[in-house]
């Protein structure tokens, strides 16, 4: 249990620093930055007790917001996908009771795990850009940025998961 806390604390800090110091300076095609830090939401183990997970996700988003001066945009988006993670997963797997303890994104078949990551990333990006622009006049800009950012982020997250997590 202690090991679990230490591991996730380190992951939390590493993700925040990675995001604000490196990934936010990538600017692919002049404006694209991947939001890798939501890998925390994807990898955090499923538990019956969701309180600490929701709070940590909120805190992770808020830490990013502190660095980016973006109000509460990242906090709102990250908390949202954290809350609906289980619903999305049950929807994709089409079963309501699975083993909470043994769940791992890696153990899912390719199609299902990529859909899972895609849905979370898409919702996250959509909320971020909607709140950032905060106006209906920029609807097409929001959709365009959401689409490209989602593709970029999903690709990077998928490779990171393949490379850095243990396969069960």
């Amino acid at each position: 249990m202690n090991n679990f806390i230490i591991q996730n604390t380190i992951l939390f800090i590493v993700l925040v620093l990675l995001q604000v110091l490196i990934l936010n300076n990538i600017n692919l095609f002049g404006y694209l930055n991947p939001y890798i830090y939501i890998i925390f939401v994807i990898l955090y183990p499923l538990r019956k007790e969701k309180g600490s997970f929701l709070f940590l996700s909120f805190l992770l988003g808020l830490s990013i917001d502190f660095f980016l001066n973006s109000g509460g945009i990242n906090a709102a988006a990250t908390l949202f996908i954290a809350y609906f993670r289980l619903s999305i997963l049950t929807y994709i797997l089409r079963k309501s009771d699975f083993d909470y303890q043994l769940f791992n994104v890696n153990s899912l078949p390719f199609g299902k795990s990529i859909t899972f990551i895609f849905l979370l990333t898409f919702i996250h990006s959509l909320i971020i850009y909607t709140l950032e622009y905060f106006s209906f006049n920029d609807f097409f800009d929001i959709i365009k940025k959401t689409a490209f950012s989602t593709i970029f982020t999903v690709t990077m997250i998928y490779f990171i998961i393949i490379l850095f997590t243990k396969k069960r």
Partner: protein, 275 residues
């Protein structure tokens, strides 16, 4: 009572979710209003300190561009100095009369730590704060033109609302005429900003230089902004006027903060006029 406790227990995660989500949305809405001071900003010792460390590495990468820019600025200033008016010779009696000098602006140098020019609402972080006499609503420029206005101030750091932001409204004019307009950004391209509310009598051409108007206490008159790229006229009024910035907002490093020494006096005067 039993029912309420049961209800709370059943929906405790949903309630926690709603609570935190509303907090986040509240921070977001606060960040979208220009006048409220923000709670979530990077002008604090933790984020500022981390950015400071990162900047010691990053600054090496644009040393060359920055040196070039400083050299150009020096050349320009030296040329201005050499244009000094020829004074009648007073060989033995040089009088320095301080009443002949009237300083209204003071420039403080600062270094930019972060720049997020790809965002709709750009905020920069600089390494000067209240310790160095920086206050809210001071103008930021470099040798190529205006950059933004200070917003949140901590002891050692301050955040700047860049001109690439939804909330900047800066008073500008064309260099050859005294028709004033407002500078805003539509969020599309970081090299182009928009000029609004220019009266239709104004006679502008593509390529005209736009400078600050000096109608506010933030920027003095004549700070550079950019040149007119293109414009549309509809029903005899200007619809959109695009301006190409002189500054490359994607690579900023050393800047100057403008302190208006007469700000208090001007504001006091304006306040008494309102009564």
């Amino acid at each position: 009572m039993q029912q309420i406790i049961k209800f709370l227990q059943k929906y405790r995660y949903f309630i926690l979710f709603l609570l935190l989500e509303f907090t986040a949305i509240a921070f977001t809405i606060q960040s979208h209003s220009y006048h409220s001071s923000k709670f979530v900003n990077s002008a604090n010792s933790i984020t500022g300190g981390i950015y400071k460390k990162a900047n010691t590495i990053n600054q090496f990468f644009n040393l060359e561009i920055e040196n070039q820019r400083l050299l150009e600025e020096n050349t320009r200033l030296k040329n201005i100095l050499s244009q000094k008016r020829i004074q009648p010779d007073i060989p033995y009696n040089t009088i320095i009369d301080t009443t002949l000098y009237f300083q209204s602006y003071n420039y403080v140098s600062a270094k930019i730590y972060t720049n997020s020019y790809t965002k709709r609402n750009n905020v920069l972080l600089i390494n000067k704060g209240s310790k160095d006499g920086i206050q809210s609503e001071m103008g930021i420029v470099n040798s190529k033109g205006i950059i933004g206005v200070t917003k949140s101030i901590s002891k050692n750091y301050s955040t700047i609302i860049s001109i690439l932001n939804k909330h900047t409204k800066i008073n500008v004019k064309s260099k050859k005429e005294d028709h004033f307009g407002t500078l805003a950004w539509n969020g599309k391209d970081y090299r182009t900003v928009q000029l609004q509310d220019l009266p239709r009598q104004a006679n502008i051409k593509i390529g005209d230089t736009i400078i600050t108007g000096g109608k506010s206490t933030i920027f003095p008159e004549g700070e550079l902004v950019g040149t007119i790229k293109d414009f549309e006229i509809e029903n005899n009024t200007f619809k959109t006027i695009n301006i190409t910035l002189f500054n490359d907002m994607s690579s900023l490093s050393n800047v100057n903060i403008i302190q208006n020494l007469h700000k208090k006096e001007i504001q006091l005067l304006e306040a008494t006029n309102d009564e």
